[in-house]
């Protein structure tokens, strides 16, 4: 019975694996690791664990691309009807769906909670000749095609921020050479190696690379200067009337049972009041932007309408 021996060996291998925590909730992070959504999801569950609100196993899946629509499509395919399946998403997804005519409908998912907002920064290479936002806008205005700007997916918040900046600087939005990147890290690589003249991403994604001296930050999209980036002027200060935030939240799978759904809304409500979460927000430089359950659903519907309008005004959607 040598065959049973192999069986036993195989069973042992698998049994060894059970020593690791068995996963109980599946979380879709629809972006490459190291990005803002990745951070939001992982930090939120770390805080849930630290605060003792949810201490079970968590199984993360990263699937990046197209403003989260690739990941959400996968989430829809694998998790519809699953009791404990969650997905991180955000403002970027709303625009990407409109722009790309994606078949995903955010209203199908069950809204759990809106957690954070993050402001965006515009960055150029450390050795770039542009030192202010006005320098950059002037150069882009002179020859938009020769100055490619990168950021998150087409139609996402990064793209919309660039479009609004262009409008404020009287550059036809349709002339912009905007190249979508799959992650903040990739945007940095492309800025460093000279593929992109400038890049847009969240403050948390760019700050570390600015510290390493690979890129310099020109302006931030918040109303006031950020406490963790005191030397970076706002768009207003630079002379452009643009203010935009990138919010992030959690969705449950379509058709998730009411009990499980209510538990998760409750868990995240508790999270928003916990010290563990407040510490994360402070460390990451994220704004608290909490809103739960059906109210969040109403907010998503509203955002879908307003972002669609901005994209139309900017000429990105017919």
């Amino acid at each position: 019975m040598n065959f049973t021996k192999t069986l036993a060996a195989l069973a042992m291998t698998a049994a060894l694996g059970t020593g690791a925590a068995s996963a109980q909730v599946n979380v879709m992070l629809p972006a490459a690791p190291g990005g803002g959504w990745d951070g939001t999801g992982r930090q939120a569950f770390q805080a849930l664990n630290d605060a003792g609100i949810y201490t079970g196993g968590v199984n993360f899946t990263n699937t990046g691309g197209a403003g989260g629509t690739v990941g959400l499509a996968e989430f829809l395919g694998t998790s519809t009807g699953q009791p404990d399946a969650l997905a991180v998403f955000g403002a970027i997804t709303v625009g990407a769906i409109a722009l790309n005519n994606s078949p995903i409908n955010l209203a199908e998912f069950r809204p759990v909670a809106r957690l954070t907002a993050e402001y965006l920064v515009v960055a150029v290479a450390a050795d770039s000749p542009y030192n202010t936002l006005a320098d950059l806008v002037a150069a882009v205005k002179a020859d938009p095609g020769a100055h490619p700007i990168g950021g998150g997916s087409a139609g996402g918040v990064d793209h919309i921020a660039v479009a609004l900046l262009a409008q404020a600087g009287e550059i036809p939005v349709a002339d912009l050479n905007y190249i979508p990147q799959t992650s903040g890290a990739e945007t940095v690589t492309a800025i460093v190696n000279g593929t992109l003249t400038a890049g847009v991403s969240g403050t948390s994604e760019f700050a570390q690379f600015a510290e390493q001296g690979r890129i310099k930050l020109l302006a931030v999209t918040s109303a006031e200067r950020r406490p963790n980036l005191p030397d970076v002027p706002t768009f207003h200060e630079a002379g452009y009337d643009v203010e935009i935030a990138n919010w992030r939240g959690i969705l449950a799978a379509p058709g998730a049972p009411d009990d499980n759904y209510a538990t998760w809304v409750d868990n995240f409500t508790k999270l928003s009041q916990s010290d563990a979460w407040k510490a994360v927000l402070a460390a990451q430089g994220w704004e608290d932007y909490f809103l739960a359950g059906e109210e969040f659903g109403a907010f998503i519907a509203e955002e879908t309408a307003t972002q669609g309008q901005i994209l139309k005004d900017a000429g990105l959607v017919n």
């Binding site: 065959f3 049973t4 069986l7 069973a11 698998a14 049994a15 694996g17 059970t18 068995s22 996963a23 109980q24 599946n26 196993g57 199984n59 699953q82 095609g145 490619p148 349709a174 002339d175 050479n177």
Partner: protein, 175 residues
């Protein structure tokens, strides 16, 4: 590719014959696949403002590539290109094709499409196990049934523990 199965069987039996086979259908199949990809590419934007190429480009390349390669293959076959079956560790390329064994194994592979959802993974895997063992010449089907059932159930429990979502144990009974 739905007609491959029958064609394969014919091609396979010829492969064992000393005369070089003429598997024109492979070239034609590739051309058909290329045509489907090309047709789809026409529905996609080919250009973009600055990139000059859009989401349609690679679909076009893939489609055109398959179409051309299919045509080349047909030409090569016509010129008498020889196709010899590969040798594998437990297979002899020059052996004559065993149709019964092949079809039994094929049923084992196709079975899950129908039974995995309604009857569950352990049941399906057990049945497929018996079928493959049979295709390889095992005649003690009751022993295979026991072996397969133990393997399938153990695998179901362990992988479920690992967080893999394999579905219910035996859906008809709701467990």
């Amino acid at each position: 590719m739905s007609t491959d199965e029958r064609n394969t069987t014919e091609g396979g039996s010829q492969a064992a014959a000393p005369a070089s086979p003429k598997p024109y259908w492979i070239g034609i199949g590739l051309m058909a696949m290329g045509a489907v990809w090309l047709y789809n590419a026409f529905g996609l934007p080919q250009g973009a403002r600055y990139a000059a190429v859009g989401p349609g480009l690679f679909v076009t390349i893939a489609g055109a590539g398959l179409l051309i390669l299919g045509a080349i293959l047909v030409l090569q076959i016509w010129r008498g290109e020889s196709f010899e079956a590969q040798d594998a560790e437990d297979a002899d390329g020059s052996n004559k094709m065993d149709k019964r064994a092949f079809l039994t194994a094929l049923v084992a592979v196709a079975l899950p499409i129908a039974t995995m959802g309604p009857l569950g993974m352990p049941f399906t895997a057990t049945l497929s196990f018996v079928l493959v063992a049979n295709a390889f010449g095992s005649r003690r089907w009751w022993l295979d049934l026991i072996c397969g059932a133990i393997l399938a159930c153990a695998a179901w429990f362990l992988f479920n523990q690992l967080g893999l979502q394999l579905g219910r144990f035996f859906p008809p009974l709701g467990v």
